[in-house]
Amino acid sequence: MAADAKPRVKVPKTATAGEVITIKTLISHEMESGQRKDSDGNPIPRSIINRFTCDFNGQNVIDVTLEPAISTNPYFEFEATVPEAGEFKFTWYDDDGSVYEDAKSIEIA
C-alpha cells in the first residue's frame, strides 16, 4: 500500500486574511475493510488509513478517525480559516505504520 498511496489536494493559491476556504483531499488507498474473503474463503485482513489530519502553521484544522466503512480512495472536503500566509500540512496514517504526507502553501492576497 505504501508505495501506491498518492494524495491529491486542492487548496486555493491565495486568500484574504481571515478568509474561510474549502479544501478537498483525495488519496489512493484500497481501504481493505477486513470483511472480504479471498478465493479460498479466508478473510483478507483489514488494512486501511485510520487517521487523517490537516494542520496550518502548526495549528490543527481537522483530525479525522477513519473506520473500514470509509470508501476506497478516501475523500474529505472541509473548510479552514486562513489567518495569515503559510503552509497546510496533510497527513494520512496507515494501519501498517506508513505515513503519507502532502503540503500546500497559501499566500495572502
Partner: protein
C-alpha cells in the same frame, strides 16, 4: 460550504416501466468551472432510430454527477496522475519514455482520444488507443505490452483522454474503417446469450428507463475509461463490453478481440458530437 442540492425523488424500479428520472437529465456539465462539456447533441446521421444522443453522465444521480465536475473530486484523476509519472519514465530496451518522442502529453495528445478507434494505414487495421499504446511500447520503446485492462493501460488511456476533455468525439466511419464499422454495427444489433439481449435492446430501445434499480443510459463510450463507483477503479470499454455480454448469460468475446474492436468503433461513432469525458465517474 458549497454543496449541490440533493433532490430526493423516489422511483419505483420495475423493469421496462418508464419512471421519473432519478438524475437531473437537464443538467449541464461544466468541468473545473471552466470547460463546458457537451452532454447532449443531435444524433449522428448514421443512427436511424435515435434523434438525440446523451452522455451517460445525465443518467446518474446528482451526487454522482458532482463527482465528475472537479478534478479533485474525481477519483479517476488518481489514475491520470499515476500515468503522468509513467509517461516520463524510461521503459524498455531503447531507453525511451513516452515523453522522449511525445514531449508533454497535454500538448501532443490533445485531440487524440476524440478520433479513436481509428484506421491505421501502415498496420492495415482499425486500432483502439490500447493497441496504439502497445505498438509504441513494443516497437519503439522495446518495452513489454501492457494487458488490455491492466492498471497501467487504463491509467494511460485515462491520461490521454483527460487532455481531450471538452472536445467532441469524432471517429471516422468511412473509407478503410467502413468494413470494421459495419461489423461492429451488426454485433450491436445481435442478440446474445440465454437472455437473448442485444446492446440495442437496452441502450437504444430503453435508455432512460429503469432496469431493476439501475437507470439505463445510451451506453455511450465518450466517458471511457470510467471510474466505476461499484468497483472503485477505472474500467476500459472492452472490460465493460465483457461485463454486459456476460450479463446476457453468454460466453463473451475476449478483450482485444476483432469483435470488440469493431464494436468499440461502432459504439464510439454513436457518440460522435458528445464531449470526451474520460475519465468519467459512473455507478
Amino acid at each position: 460550504m458549497k454543496s449541490k442540492m440533493l433532490r430526493g425523488i423516489t422511483a419505483v424500479a420495475v423493469l421496462g416501466l418508464s419512471v421519473p428520472a432519478l438524475a437531473d437529465e437537464e443538467a449541464n456539465l461544466v468541468l473545473n468551472e471552466e470547460i463546458e462539456m457537451t452532454v447532449r447533441a443531435p444524433a449522428p446521421d448514421h443512427m436511424e432510430n435515435v434523434d438525440m444522443i446523451y452522455s451517460g453522465w445525465v443518467y446518474r444521480t446528482d451526487e454522482t454527477q458532482v463527482m465528475q465536475m472537479d478534478d479533485f473530486d474525481n477519483p479517476g484523476m488518481i489514475g491520470v496522475e499515476s500515468a503522468s509519472v509513467v509517461w516520463a519514465n524510461v521503459d524498455g530496451s531503447e531507453g525511451k519514455s513516452c515523453a522522449s518522442c511525445h514531449d508533454d502529453a497535454e500538448t501532443s495528445m490533445k485531440g487524440v482520444r476524440a478520433v479513436y478507434p481509428k484506421w491505421n494505414e501502415a498496420a492495415g487495421e482499425v486500432r483502439t488507443l490500447e493497441m496504439q499504446i502497445n505498438d509504441c511500447r513494443t516497437t519503439r520503446m522495446g518495452a513489454e505490452e501492457w494487458k488490455w485492462s491492466s492498471d497501467d493501460m487504463m491509467n494511460m488511456t485515462a491520461l490521454i483522454s483527460s487532455v481531450s476533455r471538452g472536445m467532441p468525439m469524432n471517429v471516422a466511419i468511412d473509407g478503410p474503417a467502413r468494413e470494421t464499422w459495419e461489423k461492429g454495427k451488426e454485433i450491436y444489433y445481435t442478440r446474445f446469450g440465454q437472455l437473448e439481449l442485444a446492446c440495442a435492446n437496452c441502450h437504444e430501445d430503453n435508455y432512460g428507463n429503469m432496469i431493476r434499480a439501475d437507470h439505463l443510459s445510451q451506453g455511450q463510450t465518450n466517458g471511457f475509461p470510467v471510474y466505476r463507483l461499484k468497483t472503485t477503479s477505472l474500467n476500459s470499454t472492452h472490460k465493460r463490453f465483457r461485463g454486459c455480454i456476460r450479463d446476457t448469460r453468454a460466453e463473451t468475446f475476449p478483450e482485444g478481440s476483432p469483435e470488440f474492436i469493431a464494436l468499440d468503433l461502432y459504439v464510439a461513432s454513436r457518440g460522435n458530437g458528445l464531449s470526451v469525458e474520460g475519465p468519467s465517474v459512473r455507478n
